[in-house]
Amino acid sequence: MRRFLTCALLLALAAAVPAGAAFREQSKLEAAYRRALGAWAAGQDEDALAQLQRLDQDGEVGRLERAKLAVGKAFGRRNPAALLAAAALEERAYLVYASRRPTMAAEARHTAAALVELHASLDRAPAARTADAAMLASLAGSAAAGSQQSAAEDLYNRVLALVPRQPAALLGLAAIHELHAQYAEAAELLAPLVVEHPDAREARLRLAVNELRLGRRERAETNLRKLAGDGVDWVRSLAAQELAKVLAARGDFAGAGATIDAAAAVLPCDPSLPVQAALVAERAGGATPLDLSTLGACGEAAESARARYTHAPSSELVPLRRDIAAGEREWRQALAGVLGVVAAQPRVSE
């Protein structure tokens, strides 16, 4: 009887060992993730990121995502806002990994998006929906800035599923269409955005540029003229450059020169303006010198509007990220609450 019982116990143990090992591994991952989240909630950002990185580089991707979501589900039911804090940590990690650790970056991006969508499923209030859309759009903006266009496109589409016509998503998607030379699709996204947000200058510029590409010259020129005559920003500079090109192409060098000069008068540190002014003047038969002394005086303040346009659009992300930063303190408090840790306090000088 004793021998039989020993054998039965050994057999049961043999069957339980693999399942137990998996369970222990999962528990270990979850506990490590909770520790990282605890540090994040407590305002120990670098410790949180370092712990998360150790976890991310050691863990197997699929299992890692499952463990993180299991933790998220556990505390998300108690306070969904805590999920947004966890997603913010994953986005920060994504930015860290993006340039050098593509696999880890992809995992962080997926997890961040999954945590936000978990939050969306638990809290359907309009304010929560806005926050979810902002988080996903910010993540998409980071992906686009890192040339991860298809990931960005997917995330922007998820944003629009949550909040149709969300400005950052429309602008971001339009920029991706531009990269694929899909100018009609880009214009289609930008047109309603410009109607709803007439102060969205980057969107207005991108719409005008795409209309120009689509041969809608009159409308494009009108819009470029408005943008080139107003504001003190890179949008004005680029609108002036594009308008001057249109004018020079039909032989109106005087108009082109005046447009560029007016922009250069308020934006002396855009490097493209003096170059274009010099060419326009030369083509008109004048002898306007190429003035590089202004640029010498600008130093680090020199900024190329054309380079700004080439990058992933960020103008609609700026206010959105400001809102996220404002909300993040509250989300971290929620995370601290569900984890039972002391929330972030201002660090005291030692």
């Binding site: 506990a31 120990q44 370092a50 694929h180 490097p271 493209s272 010099a278 590089l292 306090q345 201002p346």
Partner: protein, 503 residues
């Protein structure tokens, strides 16, 4: 890489409860017999969690740490910080422990004692910039506004600052004319012989990065009795045609026949490689040139300057999507690169814009004009196009030599916000044609190639060039295109500019 924080024996600053509790509950469900085992497992999990290195950390101390290292840590935590080694030196240390909770606050507090600040750049990057250096003022004291200036003019400035003045640049009509590195702040500048007014500008820069400028506008004496010298000089490089290597044969004046619009022109002058050179070294310092490649470019440029003759002149323009540094034309000494070699690579590439600027700068220079461009150039930020450059090249006497760092081994297709892949390919092909039409050439350099050798190759070609001069007939100044053809003996291939615009 994120630097893993040091493990500390300190207790955790947070508690781990819910999941351990879940594990314990799971143990209870498994039956009484396993309760002790489950409890032990749970305890082990807790112990392991506490004992794991780095499980809990004291706030990071920055005090005394090299500033570069502190910034690297913030970068590892997700801040996209961009800084120049000009601003953040290796010997700078953190002098005050930051008290901020948020990373941006920490960054600002780390930089502040060093007179540095943060500016938000493209794509949410954080640019380290100088935080308002001590004020500097500069005033042009000579010539004075309205004065008549002609020929060589003494230009003098007064600089007022509490800091060391790094240099003072003088510009005439926006073009760099002289750089002075020590007081007195004056230089002798030759005023271009053009009608109308003349604008003198002075830009003073302090060691701490402060800048100030001043300008005056003077009048110029217009010489109406100019003698038109219509001699056209054609610079011709000769090599064996395909299939033959080695130096081509020595060619004499009788071996060349110049045709303009198909009509043979009698040669008035003949020479070889002895016309002084005005060289503009155009160095791409965009983001993709960061690190060893930019340093190699500067090293090669120094070699090139050494090989120029004393009667030659040179200037250096370092660019990205803006001019990063520009020197006035001067004797070709390696010292020309002094202060330039610390230029940090950043930003995109505006190749067409800066090629145009280089050609404009060379318009006013004497002798054989060449642009020596070193770039890995995928241009996505120029406002000008290859067609604009073609227009300019047709009206310029300068030849373009492009040493192209070819990382893609010929595969150039890429899409950008401005053009699709096909458009970019078309633009690149047109630019290549423009370079060849200028009488220069493109040399594609694979990664790891000896840049100095490529520069030396260009110099050898320039020294071996034939210079054929003729007087064109029926000059009309009507902007018409005068195509050129130069013929020689069979088996020898000639390279020269495609023609010129009668203006």
């Amino acid at each position: 890489m994120i630097a893993a924080p040091e493990a500390t024996p300190s207790p955790p600053s947070f508690t781990v409860a819910p999941d351990v509790g879940r594990a314990a509950a799971f143990g209870r469900r498994s039956g009484r017999r396993h309760a002790a085992l489950a409890a032990s497992l749970a305890a082990l999990v807790i112990v392991a969690a506490i004992a794991t290195p780095g499980a809990a950390q004291l706030p990071r101390r920055y005090l005394g740490m090299p500033l570069v290292e502190a910034l690297a840590r913030l970068q590892e935590q997700g801040l996209r910080i961009i800084y120049s080694s000009d601003l953040v030196h290796a010997d700078m240390k953190v002098v005050k422990e930051p008290t901020g909770t948020w990373l941006h606050d920490v960054l600002a507090q780390l930089l502040e004692p060093h007179g540095l600040a943060v500016r938000v750049g493209p794509g949410g990057s954080l640019l380290v910039v100088r935080a308002g250096p001590p004020p500097v003022t500069v005033r042009l004291t000579s010539p004075v506004a309205g004065e008549v200036t002609t020929g060589e003019v003494e230009v003098t400035a007064e600089v007022d600052t509490t800091e060391r003045v790094a240099f003072v640049d003088f510009f005439v009509n926006g073009w760099p004319a002289a750089r002075v590195k020590q007081a007195p702040w004056s230089a002798r500048i030759t005023v271009p012989d053009e009608g109308g007014s003349c604008r003198f500008t002075v830009v003073a820069r302090t060691a701490g990065g402060g800048r100030a400028s001043d300008s005056v506008i003077t009048r110029r004496v217009v010489h109406e009795d100019r003698v038109e010298v219509a001699l056209r000089q054609v610079y011709v490089s000769a090599s064996w045609d395909r299939g033959r290597f080695g130096a081509p044969p020595e060619l004499g004046v009788g071996d060349f026949h110049v045709f303009e619009r198909g009509v043979m022109q009698p040669l008035a002058t003949f020479g070889r490689g002895d016309t002084p050179i005005s060289a503009l070294l155009l160095i791409d310092a965009s983001e993709s040139m960061r690190g060893a490649e930019l340093q190699a470019a500067f090293d090669a440029a120094r070699q090139f300057l050494r090989q120029l003759a004393p009667e030659d002149e040179a200037a250096v323009m370092v660019f990205a999507d803006r001019v990063l540094t520009l020197t006035p034309f001067g004797p070709p000494e390696p010292g020309l690169l002094e202060g330039i070699e610390g230029t940090a690579a950043s930003g995109g590439t505006a190749l067409d814009d800066h090629l145009y600027a280089a050609l404009r700068l060379l318009d006013e220079r004497p002798g054989r004009r060449i642009v020596l461009l070193l770039s890995d150039g995928a241009d996505v930020t120029s406002t000008l196009t290859a067609a604009d450059l073609r227009w300019k090249v047709e009206r310029s006497d300068a030849s373009i030599y492009w040493l192209r760092l070819d990382r893609t081994r010929g595969e150039r297709s890429f899409a950008s916000a401005w053009r699709d892949a096909e458009g970019n390919d078309r633009e690149f092909r047109e630019l290549a044609e423009v370079v060849e039409d200028s009488g220069g050439r493109i040399e594609a350099l694979l990664p790891g190639v000896d840049l100095a050798k490529a520069f030396t190759g260009v110099m050898a070609e320039l020294r071996a060039q034939y210079v054929l001069g003729y007087y064109p007939r029926d000059l009309k100044r009507d902007g018409s295109w005068r195509s050129l053809e130069v013929r020689t003996m069979p088996g020898v291939r000639l390279r020269y500019r495609a023609g010129w615009v009668d203006r």
